[in-house]
């Protein structure tokens, strides 16, 4: 195909794709991006074509190639329809209540502007922001000069401060990358250079003995390690919720169960956004829609990228085994450099569990969080050997998440080049959690800049950067815990025996600044049901507390919003029997 004639850029890419992927793919230019269309046999071909079109001088890849016989489900939307937000005017509309959207809302709440954050789910942090290992990466993995590298390193630095302001437990636990002889020789100079270029501080080589002093329970199958002491650990959902609550306490509004359905533009400007809860008229829109960010861009006729969800699975082990790990330990495989992820390892969470994983699997379904035996078994086989004292019987549960990867594999943090009042915070995959505080600061600047062309934007006189979290009683000294219980006796009634969570903490979650009343939402805030019994004991008690404190009938209480009801109807004698476990 690549004959003597001088072919244009697009023809060249087209040729390569036809040669190595499929004849049924057509390339075209759309504004300054490349558009791929057609139909192929497998999803792997879709990904392969997308990758071939990447970094070829276009702004982005719009990959619309379909797979024969595969219909992708449409975005899941809440069934709820009402007029709560009808004709609402706001200065800033943030679409997406993950850690990015929430952090942006928090930073923007410094200004005298009206902010509305919408999320289609029953809670914040339902997708990728709940579905990761909570690692605050040091910034060594991204290629230098990428946005990822910049925001990762900057975000990591900000964590000590934001976590303190928002009262979220955070620890710089460090992460250890074990290596064998081959790896040590080849990778070591590359790592050193990259640490310097990215600005990663404190990287250090450790001997086997030094490594074992830090992590005495790991296996012996390595010769040394590299430690990144700035690496941290946080609860990703608690962090997200804390950002959003702080925003709300500073006047921002959060509307859950609210999905953006379409966007009306005129003269390259968004006029309104239709949701299932009414038509919103924002001055500017921030796209922080995670795996759906390309669809939101499309609604505004500004699609120049494609999110291809890359799934990761993680296993959670019983806290009993937490004592055998202090930080985050991984041992990279030689052939993983092209898989787009570090390859996972073992992580000690801020709450004391060990997590194992994640892996990375390209698959087309953005909201499919099902697991299968093959992936879970692979993780067990790959990572369990690192800690010889853990075994599959320590697994209490497992879950999966989808990384919002673009073909460019970099973050998109920018004002739209086409739509005047749209800002993208998109393509945010790992290390998005680590980068969030830094991304939010830059988006804040962009938003204020754009808004300033439309209105006067003044800083708030009384912005409060602090937010008080729900007290974690089991972490307290007995003296402090006693004082809390004396003030509020329900802090002394243990509901979740596995995680030692009191009734008072659950009541606090229900009454928190962004009120929630599903089991999972309460779990994200205060952990009942996160332990080894997985809620088999405490579910009815938590339901009862929701009934009492959120003014809900037990029949209306859900696991995770929507129609995920706990019970379906009363028994024959009629429900509501006096049950008094509390």
């Amino acid at each position: 195909m690549n004959g003597g004639a001088v072919l244009g850029r697009i023809e060249k890419i087209q040729g390569e794709i036809i040669n190595s992927v499929s004849k049924n793919i057509f390339c075209a230019e759309k504004r300054n991006s490349i558009l791929l269309e057609g139909e192929v046999e497998t999803y792997e071909e879709v990904i392969k074509a997308g990758k071939l079109a990447t970094n070829r001088g276009y702004k982005g890849v719009i990959n619309n190639i379909k797979v024969k016989g595969l219909t992708l489900p449409s975005r899941k939307h809440p069934k709820l329809i009402d007029n709560k937000l009808e004709r609402k005017k706001v200065d800033v509309l943030i679409i997406g209540g993950g850690v990015i959207g929430s952090a942006i809302a928090r930073e923007l709440s410094k200004w005298e502007i009206s902010i509305l954050l919408i999320d289609k789910e029953d809670d914040l942090a339902v997708h990728a922001s709940s579905r990761n290992n909570g690692m605050i990466h040091p910034g060594i993995d991204p290629n230098p000069k990428t946005k990822k590298a910049y925001y990762n390193v900057q975000g990591n630095k900000l964590y000590s401060k934001v976590a303190k302001e928002l009262d979220v437990s955070f620890e710089r636990c460090g992460n250890i990358v074990l290596y064998d002889a081959w790896y040590g020789k080849i990778i070591s100079p590359v790592l050193k250079l990259r640490a310097r270029l990215n600005g990663v501080e404190g990287m250090k080589y450790l001997s086997k003995r030094e490594t074992k002093e830090l992590e005495p329970y790991i296996y012996d199958d390595f010769i040394g390690s590299v430690i990144f002491p700035t690496t941290g650990i946080v609860s990703p959902y608690k962090m997200t919720i804390a950002f959003a609550e702080n925003a709300v306490l500073n006047g921002a509004e959060v509307s859950l169960n609210t999905a953006a359905l379409s966007i009306k533009c005129e003269d390259r400007k968004i006029i309104y956004v239709d949701t299932n809860r009414g038509r919103i008229f924002p001055k500017i829109v921030i796209n922080a829609a995670g795996v759906h960010a390309d669809e939101i861009a499309e609604m505004a006729d500004d699609r120049f990228f494609t999110i291809h969800p890359r799934k990761g699975h993680i296993l959670i082990l019983d806290k009993k085994k937490g004592q055998f790990l202090n930080s985050i330990v991984s041992k990279p495989a030689i052939n993983q450099s092209k898989s787009g992820t570090k390859g996972g390892g073992v992580t000690k969470t801020i709450d004391g569990n060990i997590l194992v994983g994640p892996d990375a699997v390209e698959q087309p379904f953005k909201e499919d969080y099902s697991t299968n035996k093959e992936n879970i078994d692979n993780i067990i086989n790959k990572h369990f050997p690192i800690l010889p004292l853990i075994s599959p019987s320590d697994i209490i549960t497992y879950f999966s998440g989808n990384r919002a990867a673009t073909y460019e594999e970099d973050f998109i943090i920018e004002k739209s080049e086409y739509v005047k009042n749209l800002i993208h915070a998109a393509g945010i995959q790992s290390p998005g959690l680590a980068s969030a505080p830094a991304i939010a600061l830059d988006i804040e600047k962009m938003a204020v800049e754009v808004l300033s062309t439309m209105m006067e934007v003044k800083p708030k006189e009384k912005w409060n950067p602090y937010r008080k979290g729900i007290p974690e009683l089991f972490k307290m000294s007995e003296k402090e815990r006693n004082e809390y219980i004396k003030k509020r006796p329900d802090y002394g009634i243990i509901i979740c025996r596995c995680e030692e969570i009191s009734k008072g903490e659950i009541v606090d979650a229900i009454n928190s600044p962004i009120p929630v009343n599903s089991l999972d939402a309460i779990k994200r805030r205060v952990r009942p049901g996160m332990g080894r019994c997985q809620g088999a004991f405490c579910t009815p008690s938590v339901a009862k507390i929701i009934e009492e404190n959120a003014n809900k009938n037990i029949l209306e209480i859900t696991k995770k919003g929507g129609e995920s009801y706990l019970v379906v109807e009363e028994t024959k004698k009629g429900g509501g029997a006096q049950f008094g476990i509390l």
Binding site: K76, K320, D368, Y369, S370, T371, N372, K373, I376, S393, I395, I396, T397, F474, E478, R481, N482, I485, K486, P489, D490, G492, I493, I494, R497, E500, R532, C533, Q534, G535, A536, F537, T539, P540, I554, L555, T558, K559, K560, G561, G562, E563, S564, Y565, L566, V567, V568, E569, E570, T571, K572, K573, G574, G575, G576, A577, F579, G580, I581, L582
Partner: protein, 418 residues
């Protein structure tokens, strides 16, 4: 700080019996219960069949519990309810418990501790069920709570995975309440529950029992929409090509119980891998002096009557130990694990003046016409012929031993044909 001779953790059938017998043996006794009411899991077991051994009557769970609660109350043995033990530390010869309740944190001292914490249910992920995580997947005990205590149906059309007793009981219970139970699926080639429950809960209600089948995948976003069922081979691995989709809105799991021994582990009590409960001697003392174990925390029982018995024996021993500590000499009881799932106790304390051993055991497989023999060197301590032994049905045997003949020799359990 308040001091007691004996503190019992848990006011279920084991803890109530333990507290009662400890008190009757003269010990100053306290019972601590994390729930609002005593009775443990019996509170939600409204079916009958409890107490056939203990009272020679068929009682419901709440009735059975009530009898013990009354006895405990009549004796004015204190029970702290809605009270949770956060930690236990041994300081010199005294156990110091940190106890939290709505009144704050208090310290309680005890010479002996009885662990009667019961057990928990194995969950779907612990047996490797895959697919999505919708609402409507729950353990049988949780379903039982919804129906019997709260008065709500958790599903209308469900399948039950696992033929454990609670699963069988719930199959009948859900059917009586108007839900459709499509079937009970068991991965093994024989049922896990008691024969009487197979007959009374499934056969009498025409609920099918499918053996050598399991759930491989759960579907549904908000609520369960269905499951994928597979045949399994002799190693209980799903056979490719046998997948079948069944529409349902609930999955009830009865796939095993695990003794709760987190507190025991924090006290370095050694756990038997076979029972998942502590190793104990004939006095139900664990390998840590002063800590006793009984009921389902010790091993999972199929009849409450035996839970009561082990509690009673543990209570008596703990009271004795609290009144005068003694040095033990533990001889292991040898058991062929290819023939038996387990036997409790696992040790004999040959220094103890108690030479009567109450032993609970389960055979590994269904076997017919066998003899169970307990031997010490060449002396036969016990021998019984069984026409059949069935793993779900626990056997209880009692034997005496002569202390002098035991010195330096362990006791062996044997199973022989004949």
């Amino acid at each position: 700080m308040e001091f007691y001779d004996v503190v019992v953790l848990g006011a279920g059938p084991a803890g109530l019996a333990a507290g009662l017998s400890s008190y009757e043996e003269g010990a100053n006794t306290l019972i601590i219960e994390r729930e609002k009411y005593p009775g443990g899991i019996l509170k939600q077991c409204i079916h009958d069949g409890f107490g056939l051994v203990e009272f020679k009557e068929r009682l419901t769970g709440p009735e059975y519990a009530e009898r013990f609660i009354k006895m405990v109350r009549n004796k004015k043995i204190p029970i702290l309810t809605s009270t949770f033990v956060t930690s236990i530390k041994k300081e010199e010869e005294i156990f110091i418990l940190s106890v939290v309740s709505k009144d704050g944190i208090i310290k309680v001292g005890a010479k002996a501790i009885i662990l009667a914490n019961g057990c928990r249910e194995r969950t779907s992920k612990q047996i490797g069920i895959h697919g999505t995580r919708p609402s409507g997947v729950m353990t049988a005990g949780l379903a039982q709570y919804f129906v019997n205590i709260m008065g709500y149906l958790p599903c209308k059309k469900c399948i039950i995975l696992g033929s454990g007793d609670i699963g069988l009981i719930m199959a009948r219970r859900l059917t009586l309440e108007g839900a459709k139970v499509l079937g009970v699926y068991e991965v093994k080639n024989s049922p896990s529950g008691l024969t009487r429950n197979i007959v009374q809960c499934l056969n009498d209600f025409s609920i099918p029992l499918y053996l050598s089948k399991t759930i491989t995948k759960i579907s549904g976003d908000d609520r369960v929409e269905g499951v994928e069922i597979c045949d399994v081979d002799e190693n209980m691995k799903p056979i490719k090509g046998t997948e079948k989709f069944i529409e349902c809105d609930g999955v009830i799991l009865s796939v095993g119980l695990i003794p709760e021994n987190e507190i025991a582990e924090s006290l370095n009590v050694e756990i038997d891998n076979a029972t998942k409960g502590p190793y104990v001697d004939q006095n139900f003392m664990t390998k840590v002096d002063g800590i006793f174990s009984c009921g389902n925390a010790l091993h999972v029982n199929d009849l409450v009557d035996y839970v009561t018995e082990s509690g009673r024996l543990a209570g008596k021993s703990a009271a004795k130990y609290a009144s005068s500590k003694y040095k033990r000499a533990l001889n292991p009881i040898e058991i062929p694990l290819n023939k038996f799932l387990y036997a409790v106790p696992q040790y004999i304390d040959i220094n103890s003046d108690n030479n009567k051993v109450v032993m609970y055991l389960r055979s590994r497989d269904i076997v017919k016409n066998v003899k169970v023999i307990i031997k010490s060197r060449n002396e036969i301590l016990y021998e019984k012929r069984y026409t059949h032994l069935n793993p779900p049905e626990m056997e209880r045997i009692v034997f005496d031993f002569n202390r002098s003949s035991l010195n330096d020799y362990s006791i062996k359990i044997l199973m022989q044909e004949g």
